[in-house]
């Protein structure tokens, strides 16, 4: 295992493993979030959020998730810098459009934009729920259990607010573009691919990306249009 994490494939392996882990997280996140649009009283989502906030397994996973994000982000900049150095004199004219997809060539930019979104997103919700608190989170009673009214915090960000609604739609689309390449690419990097699975993985990647982009975009649009 010597020099594994400094070797090109070792570094990519880390990107791939953390990427797969983050994509799994996104699915869980999206599942809970979609509860927002299936119950306008907010009880369903509040129950889901309360379950996630009090579940010991989630508590264990939270720091691991943070670490996953950190490694994925730091390594991406490191790898991109190394890759950039591999061509000190650039081409005068280069046309990659016929040979590769736009999102595959711009993973760093897409990832960086998702990171900007993530910072805003953490400020909007995570900071208020976990650290500072907010009057919008005034406790509510769902089925005899006292819990924070997370639904109120989320819905009040989007209702009547074009800026945040469209920002979250953009975030969903950017994430979709990032994972449309990231999904199959991470299987390729850990060696779980061949000529038969190439098309299958790329199709699943496409489906996954659409689910993520549409799923996350639907929520702010629902609040913006319905209320």
């Amino acid at each position: 295992m010597s020099n594994f994490f400094t070797a090109s494939i070792g570094r990519k392996f880390l990107m791939s493993i953390t990427g797969l882990f983050l994509m799994l997280f996104i699915l869980v996140h999206l599942t809970i979030n979609l509860l927002l649009i299936f119950d306008d009283s907010g009880d369903l989502f509040n129950k889901g959020a309360h379950f996630m906030a009090t579940n010991p397994a989630v508590k264990i996973m939270e720091p691991i998730l943070g670490l996953g994000f950190l490694i994925h982000i730091i390594w991406s900049f490191l790898i991109s810098w190394e890759n950039w150095k591999a061509r000190p004199v650039k081409y005068n004219k280069q046309d990659l459009s016929k040979a590769s997809s736009w999102s595959s060539r711009n993973m760093l930019i897409l990832g960086a934009l998702v990171l900007v979104f993530l910072v805003i997103h953490l400020y909007n919700f995570y900071l208020k729920i976990k650290i500072t608190g907010s009057p919008l989170l005034e406790h509510t009673n769902v089925g005899g259990v006292d819990m924070e009214n997370t639904y109120n915090l989320v819905s009040s960000l989007f209702i009547g607010n074009w800026f945040y609604s469209l920002l979250y739609v953009a975030g969903g689309i950017l994430l979709g573009l990032h994972v449309i390449h990231g999904f199959w690419s991470s299987f390729q990097t850990i060696g779980l691919n061949n000529q038969i699975w190439m098309k299958r993985l790329q199709t699943i990647a496409w489906v996954y990306a659409v689910v993520v982009a549409v799923g996350f975009s639907v929520i702010p649009l629902y609040f913006l249009i319905k209320f």
């Binding site: 010597s2 990519k12 591999a86 061509r87 005068n92 990659l96 016929k98 040979a99 390449h181 299987f187």
Partner: protein, 253 residues
Amino acid sequence: MADKILKKLYIKVWRQNNAQDKGRFETYEIENVSTGSSFLEMMDILNNNLIEKGIDPVAFDHDCREGICGICSMFINGRPHGPDSAVTTCQLHMRKFNDGDTITVEPWRAAAFPVIKDLVVDRTAFDKILQAGGFVSVNTGGVPDGNAILISRDDAEEAMDAAACIGCGACVAACKNSSAMLFVAAKVSHLAKLPQGRIEAKARARNMVARMDELGFGGCTNTGACEAECPKSISISHIARLNREYLVAKFSE
């Protein structure tokens, strides 16, 4: 049917006297080029004209002129081996261009492929990667019986597809990261798929990847540009195999 004639073309070509020279673009005009001529023949005509004018001809690599040797490295109009798929530069024909076009011709650009002169680059980095493990250490005795080691047709075919690599470097030239992964993957794959190659498979994957990293090639981000520009259309599924071979070799270390 006679080939069409391109009355005038402008060739914007990279000129660099030696490895130390900073280099620059020069644009030369060339007249009456047959669309039936290959790109290299057009370069021959251009050089002929330059010599007549007392200008140093453009240095470029060329050898077999039938798409096998892989030496004719030219980055034409933004793509390795120009605007055609699955061809080397010698197989690219002037019918792919229009009258009055300005054609930009550059050398392969990569830290691991330094320019020697004009369009000629030093590709010994590929040889060094091969020397790190791209071979089978065997005692060459008598010819063994053909059926002594059975190999499935699918494995043999896949090994042959990988063995089609001519080491031209288009994968490195096309890659946004100047990665040599497709080359290394092809060289690891064509041995990994055959029983004779399995014996040294782990050391081969470890050593060739280590050498590739050392020589300053970038990492693979799976854009697939290499496969699209490869004159032999070698699949990036071989890169997945290289990753697998390498990870298994590393984890069992």
